[in-house]
Subunit: 207 residues, 2 copies
Amino acid sequence: MSTTKPVHKRRSEKSRRAIYDAALALVAEVGYPRTTVEGIAARAGVGKQTIYRWWSSKADVLLEAFLDLAYESGQDPEQRQEQPEYAIPDTGDLAADLKAVLRATVDELRDPRFEGPSRALAAEGVVDEELGRAVVAKLLEPSLQLYADRLRAAQDAGEIRPDLDPRIALELFVSPLAQRWLQRTAPFSYEYTDTLVDYALHGLAPR
Amino acid sequence: MSTTKPVHKRRSEKSRRAIYDAALALVAEVGYPRTTVEGIAARAGVGKQTIYRWWSSKADVLLEAFLDLAYESGQDPEQRQEQPEYAIPDTGDLAADLKAVLRATVDELRDPRFEGPSRALAAEGVVDEELGRAVVAKLLEPSLQLYADRLRAAQDAGEIRPDLDPRIALELFVSPLAQRWLQRTAPFSYEYTDTLVDYALHGLAPR
């Protein structure tokens, strides 16, 4: 945080951070249905009105707390949604680029700061359609679009068939990891995500 | 149900069915955490002891209710787990067989008898690791093994590369549908599942 910011701004940022931390910790501990704005406020050591000044509901607080966790790098939060700092690298080697990003995703899914709150939010999204759609629109789909962009660049470079729909194609390597994580259908590792990329690019049928 | 069965057996089957129906309806309505053996018994019109005579917990009742829903065809329930009636067809055309089974899965995921209780159980499995692992072991993995078996037959027939791991390969078309359903990342249709099979078999890279 810059030391040139005015005092009232520094205080806001400190409260905002305390509220995000409280919201993520609480939802991991008691689940989404029992997380309340009052509970977040108490844990963050702020008044309930401080939260309602910035957010309209617990869903809003939580979704922004996740965006902050994902883009945690000290950037101005107002800039993040419009200009995500992440993009999938384009070294000209699609397989290597996808493997690198999926390995980073494996690390993120194992990060305990991320796992508890993410599971709580994902679980509620399975049964609460409105929340589920908000989570997808604000958190998941923007990440998936980065894969779609990288696949489009690969189409231009002739590395991917020109007739494929990138938004479907990306699911061949993204969704298996998501399902192993969400449903614990099987363990996952770097070797596993590397294998997914190879199978998806080259296909299951003999060439 | 055969009319030659003794009366006490007919009564058991009728109670069993009422208990399954009550368990599935209740979990869809109030969620897994608030579903109780008492609540299931009350709704089924049986005593709590009737349930505890056959099952040790609400998780046991629910898992068997799902097995019954999946294999609902009037077979003797005792036979079902050992001898599932389902197998993926093997007409010699792998793409056609996989497309047919995935289309049937699309229909099943849209069946309202299935959707509510399935979402409630899947959501709880995301946050409750013990339940999640039981759901996978009893309900999900046996279905996935049918795909693995079909892919092994295709390897023998030269339709799939011999060096692939069938348990990973099947995820390229099964997991995308699972994620679209669970997380509502996008709509799904027969056209979508057909596309998944084509992309997985032939790969994203040009041949």
